[in-house]
């Protein structure tokens, strides 16, 4: 839980940067940070956690944008999907939004909400369909690498989207 917020929006790149395509969220976050003006009301961070730890990292922000890998089977590698928590609950978990060792992100957030913790008003998830999350390697596969600029642009556009954050969708 954060004791003080430095920004109202948090961009979290999820994934393991040494597991080939699993690190796509981390790479997008790095590029988003580089593209933002220094005075942007946005914090950008890379983490490799799920479940409760992910929920705890999100507390205190008004809006959180997650970028994560979507497993093969969720479209051609590099395909981008914009998801809300409601989508996540209904269909497909992304790589890091669930955790076999504690709880899914949805359960974790609901637990926090029940306890009156400062859960973000809006949570958007950008999922990138990936090809290889089984081999260690520092570089994404070509299709995923090629998709990164478009994902970065989509996240930057999401950040720019006007209006006060509403309740999560």
């Amino acid at each position: 839980m954060r004791e003080s917020r430095s920004a109202s929006t948090l961009v979290l790149g999820l994934g393991n940067p040494i597991l080939t395509d699993d690190g796509v969220g981390v790479r997008v976050a790095e590029a988003v940070r580089a593209a933002l003006p220094p005075d942007a009301d946005v914090e950008v961070c890379e983490v490799s956690v799920g479940g409760l730890r992910l929920m705890e990292r999100m507390l205190g922000y008004e809006r959180v944008i997650l970028v994560d890998a979507l497993q093969p089977g969720d479209g051609e590698p590099g395909t981008l999907r914009r998801l809300t928590l409601a989508d996540l609950a209904e269909m497909s978990a992304t790589q890091h939004s669930t955790c076999a060792h504690d709880a899914s992100l949805i359960t974790a957030l609901e637990t926090a909400r029940r306890m009156g913790m400062p859960v973000p008003g809006e949570i958007i998830i950008y999922g990138v369909a990936v090809q290889d999350v089984l081999n260690f390697g520092e570089q994404p596969t070509p299709a995923v690498a090629a998709a990164i600029p478009a994902v970065v642009a989509a996240v930057l556009a999401e950040i720019e989207r006007a209006g006060p954050p509403g309740r999560e969708e």
């Binding site: 978990a93 890091h96 999350v133 089984l134």
Partner: protein
């Protein structure tokens, strides 16, 4: 039982990297066999070769999003051995303090979010309620708040002492990059005291909810969840449980010490068995030999879990944890032989053992903070030796964790071998799952979600981390249980995405 019916309990995930339990029935509808399958992540050793060994504490902790602290510490200790530098007692204390904070948060999370819901909410409750939210709903908001507070304050310690929140960076050969200041010590002491209270509270929760319910006591002590294997755990010079350092002790199913060895000698005592149906390798005791997936003194299968550590030890090194240790063994009917309790073989008692370890870790934090050396500013050591080969070992929450590196004289890695906590337990897990399935599924049994969950409970007691064991990023491994009839048609399927 011959109709082909497919039930998907939890459709939220389509992840491919999930574990599978496959149960095969015979013509009579009884369980013929049960297998465990997990995804394989590849190439970690090759990824490491050619890199400087000093990167390993930061690289190996990237294997795992659940216990990076354990890999960080094992890698750091391996560098001590590789560069032949003995850390000062102050360094050892700082490391052990950091590591104890990690244990408090990890064991807390397992009990309240993963293992505990089976008892608090009930083993047959709908899957959607068997989670931390269900625990909060059942026991009250206050308990949820205590769990989250415990995690937050110990993550604060991990970040402050380890240099980074999730993937620590402070470990150096023979040292630690950052000393603990007196101000931090005072702050951490409050945290440690809260942890001790929380540990005592958690044991009380366990006693009230599990021991206070005869049905649960019967479940814990039932034959379906009992295996009489060898047990492994690290012990200090007085044979008490230690997570950070010591010798590896193995006791037999009767509790007698089978062997005690320095971790660097692991290859003399541990070998790996392979099976045609899985790429997993099953470690076993060389001194006993592989006799198949069977328990008993003639089988080299051993177990390395919280319960195993307690079974392999003579006791706990802190007072409250020792009292809880004695209570568990007395309550579960263990007799004292030559001053030691006989092992407890009930796999579900692992949850109880985990809470005793949580309390020990909390008390150990407090002890270490009260040692004046904990704020010694000298936490670095000069490196002079040429590296060659090093082995380092800690007790990870999920079992004994061993790192082994070979380098050239520049310290560039030429070979890497890791035996991670869960790997030790492959054979016992496979055996426990099969036994639970055989005990619970009989001809004509209606396969319900609750029944499959009771099989999964045999698996969950180990808190297996297959991602890590197969060198994957773990913590995202959903589990699928499939039952096939004698014609290999799917009878039932359960998927769990959380």
């Amino acid at each position: 039982m011959t109709t082909t019916q497919r039930i998907t309990i939890d459709p939220i995930t389509r992840l491919e990297g999930h574990g599978k339990i496959e149960i095969f029935l015979d013509d009579q509808g009884n369980v013929a066999n049960a297998y465990l399958q997990v995804p394989e992540l590849r190439g970690f050793e090759q990824f490491c070769v050619g890199r400087p060994a000093e990167e390993m504490p930061r690289l190996t902790n990237r294997i795992c999003g659940v216990c990076p602290e354990a890999h960080h510490m094992a890698a750091t200790k391996t560098l001590d051995a590789l560069y032949q530098v003995e850390p000062s007692s102050a360094v050892k204390k700082v490391r052990e303090f950091f590591y104890s904070a990690f244990y408090v948060t990890d064991h807390t999370t397992h009990f309240y979010a993963l293992g505990g819901p089976d008892f608090v909410v009930g083993p047959d409750a709908p899957a959607a309620e068997r989670n931390i939210l269900g625990v909060v709903h059942k026991v009250g908001l206050e308990i949820g708040k205590q769990v989250i507070d415990c995690r937050v304050r110990n993550h604060h310690v991990i970040q402050a002492v380890g240099g980074r929140g999730v993937h620590p960076v402070a470990g150096l050969p023979g040292g630690w990059s950052k000393a603990i200041s007196k101000e931090e010590r005072d702050e951490f002491e409050q945290i440690a005291r809260q942890n001790v209270e929380f540990g005592l509270f958690s044991l009380k929760v366990f006693e009230d909810i599990v021991l206070g319910n005869q049905e649960y006591v019967d479940l814990v002590t039932s034959d379906a969840y009992t295996e009489r294997t060898y047990y492994m755990g690290m012990v200090d010079e007085r044979n008490r449980v230690n997570f950070y350092d010591g010798q590896v002790r193995v006791v037999g199913p009767d509790g007698k010490e089978f062997v005690k060895y320095h971790p660097r000698d692991y290859l003399k005592h541990i070998a790996e068995h392979t099976e045609p149906w899985t790429y997993l390798k099953f470690p076993f005791l060389k001194g006993v030999g592989w006799k198949g997936f069977v328990d008993g003194p003639e089988s080299g299968v051993y177990c390395a879990t919280p319960l195993s550590r307690l079974n392999a030890s003579d006791g706990m090194a802190t007072p409250h944890a020792q009292a809880a240790f004695e209570k568990m063994y007395e309550t579960l009917g263990s007799k004292k032989v030559n001053g030691r309790y006989e092992p407890v073989h009930f796999r579900l008692a692992t949850h109880w053992a985990r809470l005793i370890e949580l309390l020990y870790a909390a008390e150990r934090m407090l002890e270490l903070l009260q040692d004046p050396e904990i704020t010694d500013p000298n936490v670095r050591a000069p490196i002079t030796a040429k590296p060659d080969e090093g082995i380092g070992c800690v007790e990870a929450p999920r079992g004994t964790l061993t790192h082994h590196y070979w380098t050239d004289e520049r310290g560039v890695l030429t070979r890497v071998n890791l035996i991670v906590g869960t790997t030790n337990n492959y054979a016992p897990i496979a055996m426990s799952v099969k036994k639970a399935a055989q005990s619970l599924i009989k001809k004509g049994t209606v396969i319900s979600d609750g029944l499959l969950n009771r099989i999964e409970m045999a698996f969950r007691a180990y808190d297996p981390c297959f991602g890590c064991a197969t060198h994957a990023l773990p913590g995202q491994m959903p589990l699928e249980v499939t039952i096939y009839d004698a014609e290999r048609s799917v009878v039932e399927r359960l998927q769990r995405g959380v």
